[in-house]
């Protein structure tokens, strides 16, 4: 279980202090697929990155499986991070390493002996169906394959939680579908908690059980996805539902922030 209490974060920019997150309270059940949806600049990426402290919160607490992440020192944080997998929109694979080397990375860090590394890498590549690409370099893979490697790398050390930072946003619809299926598969096979952020209602609808809607650094609505869709209480949620299914260009026209995407990376 992940429990976030009173989480706030502001950024100091040349033009002043910008609030990214304000008093976030959130509970995510163990084994859930939890979606955080919001428009660009809503603070969803910041929120996700606070969970493994790639972003340092200003105040508030985060607990993952009873471990108070926000209280850990550097060394303890590194240990905790070994049990929190993360996948990225830009994949962030190491180009100097083969698929094997990429998936082996977290295992090397965790101090696995060589034979165990090979065993585990093969096992996990089988799960993401990339066994035949074990010796390829990332540059030789398609976007979908790269994200599979990203997922394999994130899962190699058997994490309790998987954080997904817009993992399908740079993929085409068909590949997105396949990756979402894979995540769902992993969730049910391994009982792994998945927290994903997205700006696409489709992603939420497809695989999330519960979700939170983030707007201007605050959670405006949270609950089971089915309920959010059937009975949205807030304007932002309704905007997402209204924009769902429209082509991206038409959707941009409905952006309530009118293109002011300067707050943070999204």
């Amino acid at each position: 279980m992940i429990r976030i209490t009173g989480l706030s974060k502001a950024f100091l920019t040349p033009s002043g202090r910008v609030t990214a997150l304000q008093e976030i309270n959130l509970t995510i059940d163990k084994g859930d697929i939890f979606g955080i949806i919001g428009f660009s600049g809503a603070g969803k990426s910041t929120l996700l990155r606070c969970l493994n402290r790639l972003e340092e919160p200003d105040s508030g607490t985060i607990r993952i499986e009873g471990n108070e992440i926000t209280r850990l020192d550097k060394v303890q944080l590194r240990e905790a991070r070994k049990k929190i997998g993360m996948i990225f929109q830009q994949f962030n694979l190491f180009e100097s390493r083969t698929v094997f080397g990429n998936v082996a990375f977290p295992l090397e860090i965790a101090g696995y002996p060589k034979e165990r590394i090979r065993e585990r890498v093969e096992e996990i590549l089988e799960l993401v169906e990339l066994t035949d690409k074990i010796a390829s370099y990332p540059a030789q893979l398609s976007g979908g394959q790269k994200q599979r490697v990203g997922i394999a790398r994130a899962l190699a050390n058997k994490p309790d939680v998987l954080l997904s930072d817009e993992a399908t946003s740079s993929l085409d619809p068909k590949t997105t579908w396949a990756i979402l299926n894979l995540l769902q598969d992993i969730n049910s096979k391994l009982g792994l908690t998945i927290v994903l952020i997205t700006h696409e209602m489709d992603v939420l609808r497809r695989i999330c059980r519960n979700a939170a809607v983030l707007d201007a650094g605050e959670i405006v609505e949270t609950g089971p996805v089915a309920r959010l869709i059937a009975n949205p209480q807030q304007k932002t949620t309704r905007l997402f539902l209204a924009s769902d299914g429209l082509p991206a260009a038409a959707r941009a026209g409905h952006d309530p922030h009118g293109g002011e995407e300067s707050r943070d990376a999204g």
Partner: protein
């Protein structure tokens, strides 16, 4: 052309290669940690230390703004301390290495900065230590670029050795001054220049080849 040309060239080339090899080795030993430090101590990087970063940057700039010849002269007392003499090829290695280390550090800094921050963050998210990030991510990811930086440094050091030759370091530079210039031996002068040109070409060709080979593994399809 006189009969002693080839023995002279052979000795000169041998000394130059000796100086360049040792000076490069020590320049890397000094410049690599310095270059890495310049990157990782930047504000917001994995070992953020803004004040130290500024001190290192200033130090590098000061060293780099000295004219080569003056730097060599200034560092000769250090040669005496470390090698016991200020004359000869071994003595020249000390100022050559120290003089070119800051330059190499800047080249290394630039190469390491090409590594995408996302990759470094991915490694951080997996619980890697700063040392692991440097060793397993930053250096391997920028290896081709680092190779070209070292290649450029070797060529620059070759030029330094020629300058050092003018004040008693030996090598091809010394040969050109003592024979080509002071004794009007045009054949020595021309031959020295030709050998230096060929040497630089070879180094650049080799460096390019290695860098290409590193990239080839990572970027061809198949």
């Amino acid at each position: 052309m006189q009969a002693d040309l080839f023995p002279l060239l052979a000795t000169g080339l041998g000394e130059t290669l000796y100086m360049v090899a040792l000076a490069t080795l020590f320049a890397i030993l000094l410049g690599l940690p310095l270059g890495v430090a310049l990157v990782v101590t930047e504000p917001g990087h994995i070992l953020s230390a803004p004040r130290l970063n500024r001190v290192l940057g200033t130090l590098v700039n000061i060293t780099r703004s000295f004219p080569t010849l003056i730097l060599i002269v200034l560092l000769l007392p250090l040669s005496r301390l470390l090698v016991g003499t200020t004359l000869g090829s071994t003595a020249a290695v000390v100022p050559l290495a120290i003089g070119s280390a800051p330059f190499l550090a800047r080249l290394i800094e630039n190469s390491l900065k090409e590594v995408d921050r996302g990759k470094i963050e991915a490694a951080q998210a997996m619980g890697a230590t700063p040392a692991e990030i440097i060793r397993k991510v930053m250096i391997p990811e920028s290896l081709a670029s680092l190779t070209l930086g070292v290649t450029l440094a070797i060529i620059t050091i070759t030029g330094f050795t020629a300058t050092a030759g003018a004040i008693g370091a030996g090598g091809l530079g010394s040969l050109a001054v003592r024979f080509g210039y002071q004794r009007y031996r045009t054949d020595v002068m021309v031959a020295t220049v030709v050998v230096l040109v060929v040497l630089v070409e070879l180094v650049q060709w080799g460096g390019n080849r290695i860098a290409r080979r590193i990239n080839k593994n990572r970027h061809t399809f198949g």
